[in-house]
């Protein structure tokens, strides 16, 4: 299901609303729903429900959307130790933008971001939109390994690496929060549609936070 052709909060809210509505309806034959920026992937068993029947169910759900508002947006505050060993690309981003590292931090913490989708690795939130002043193209050479908890930016998006993985975004800091935890249900700290605010903590606070 495509609900638009751009990355924008409003298109993404439509995806989220339809995602919740279909999830809530528990339609026989739907195996899985994967929401993203502008589309909703509906994985279904074609022996249980036909594609035409499923399309009709989705159409009905879509029409109902205006009567059933999606759940409220949850706001999550995420502590970040910016720069230094935790954010090796902070200086580079500052130099690229011609501003100070402190400016980058205040731009990054000054915005409330919407989680557009989870993907790439388990629990990885694609969030936007960054303030224009720190919109930065991705790294020319991706890193083969980015530590867990790394907070990064690329283009007008920001993300957090929930597990150690390769990565091509600029790492500007690190959070002590666990973004993906198999012992929890759901295993991801952030879900699609959550709102995120970053706030700066010192390296000492970061160190104390770690187990």
């Amino acid at each position: 299901m495509e609900l638009g052709d751009e990355i924008s909060p409003s298109v993404n809210r439509c995806v989220r609303a339809l995602f919740f509505e279909l999830d809530h309806r528990v339609i026989q034959g739907i195996q899985e729903l994967v929401p993203s920026y502008r589309s909703l992937l509906v994985i279904y068993n074609s022996l249980v429900i036909s594609s035409s029947r499923l399309r009709e169910e989705i159409r009905v759900a879509y029409r109902e959307l205006k009567h059933t508002p999606a759940p409220r947006f949850r706001t999550v505050r995420v502590p970040v130790a910016y720069g230094g060993v935790y954010g090796p690309d902070l200086e580079w981003v500052a130099a690229y933008q011609g501003i100070s590292p402190e400016d980058v931090i205040s731009y990054h913490t000054g915005e409330t971001y919407q989680v557009y989708m989870l993907g790439f690795t388990p629990g990885y939130p694609y969030m936007g939109d960054l303030p224009e002043a720190i919109v930065t193209p991705r790294r020319e050479t991706p890193r083969t390994s980015v530590p867990r908890g790394s907070v990064a930016i690329a283009q007008n998006q920001t993300g957090i690496y929930p597990v150690e993985s390769p990565g091509g975004w600029h790492v500007i800091g690190r959070t002590p929060l666990k973004l993906f935890d198999l012992k929890k249900n759901p295993p991801a700290l952030l879900e699609m549609g959550a709102l995120v605010e970053f706030y700066a903590i010192s390296e000492e606070e970061m160190a104390r936070w770690m187990p």
Partner: protein
């Protein structure tokens, strides 16, 4: 119910992992499905040993697997013919056999296909993680400690006694797949087929493609005629969910058939392999030829129903006596 030590890995070969039918329902959190790349072979192996067909087994790749049997147990080997041997004699595939303590099970090398599956009667005594025993290799969880099997690993099985009855079951010859070196995969167009001109779509169907050595559990990479997007379209699309069997086309024009380890992607998807043909993806190996054939949605559903009906009939043939 106590678990019993049943198998000790002597050699895992290039890649042996614990896989069941896959991890469903967590794509929304960015968690890939994983699971057997050839689910048909795993399901049949489970039916043969009397397990629920979604139970986990071992997925073994190409060659070199060897394991010692630690207690009497019913097993079945299905999938690609990697020449299974029981001690020093060839072992029959696609049927359940009683192995005895002290036996050695080994794979002598590839005859056809790419992956073999071993089901153990009673099922593997491993805990489910997010609803599945499949190994998520990228994030290292599920399966056996979240990793491929190694020499010296000991697998444990539950509920042995009941499953000892399920010996001597044989797959109906009508259901027996045959694996060659040249594959025709049936596809449905989309979701982004309109980003390719009808001439390029024809080229895609004409092929032929060859599977490159870079192929693995994450995807089957193809070389052949370049599949170029319409001029002026951006290199990538806005990232979205993908499913196993999706054929994505990166900017270099070389298609990749996505398998179960990927949950989202930002490349265009020209077509998608139909569900009934997904099991073949587990048996396609580097060097093989691949050819795509477009079918209608009705045809895709019809052949899937046919396959599932026959599998259900096979399963039911044991239900009464079991």
């Amino acid at each position: 119910m106590d678990a019993v030590e049943t198998l000790e890995i002597g050699s895992p070969g290039p890649l042996t992992t614990v896989q069941d039918i896959g991890r469903f329902g967590y794509g929304r959190y960015g968690v890939a499905r994983s699971g057997a790349v050839d689910p048909f072979a795993l399901r049949v192996a489970n039916i043969l040993v009397g397990n629920p067909e979604q139970e986990a087994g071992l997925e073994m790749t190409l060659m070199g697997f060897r394991a010692g049997v630690l207690t009497d147990i019913v097993v079945a080997v299905t999938g690609g013919d990697l020449q299974p041997f029981l001690n020093d004699k060839p072992m029959q595939m696609w049927r359940s056999l009683l192995l005895h303590k002290g036996d050695t099970l080994s794979l002598r090398g590839l005859r056809n296909g790419c992956r073999a599956y071993l089901a153990l009667g009673g099922g593997l005594a491993l805990s489910t993680v997010l609803g599945s025993k499949s190994t998520n290799l990228a994030t290292k969880f599920g399966g056996f400690n979240g990793r491929p099997l190694r020499k010296g690993d000991i697998l444990r099985t539950k509920d042995l006694r009941r499953s000892l009855k399920a010996t001597g079951r044989v797959l109906d010859s009508g259901l027996l797949p045959s694996y060659g070196k040249s594959w025709t995969l049936r596809v449905l167009w989309g979701p982004q087929d309109e980003d390719f001109s009808s001439r390029v779509q024809d080229t895609f169907l004409e092929g032929p493609f060859r599977v490159t050595p870079q192929s693995d559990r994450t995807g089957i990479r193809l070389s052949g005629p370049l599949i170029e997007k319409r001029p002026g379209r951006p290199d990538s699309i806005i990232s979205e969910g993908v499913i196993p069997g999706t054929i994505q086309v990166p900017p270099d024009g070389r298609p990749i058939i996505i398998l179960g380890e990927t949950v989202t992607g930002g490349y265009r998807k020209i077509a998608t392999v139909i569900t009934a043909d997904l099991p073949w993806l587990g048996q396609i190996k580097p060097g093989d030829g691949v050819h795509f054939e477009q079918v209608s949605m009705e045809e895709a559903v019809r052949v899937l129903r046919e396959m599932e009906d026959r599998l259900a009939g096979f399963r039911a043939s044991f239900a009464a006596g079991a």
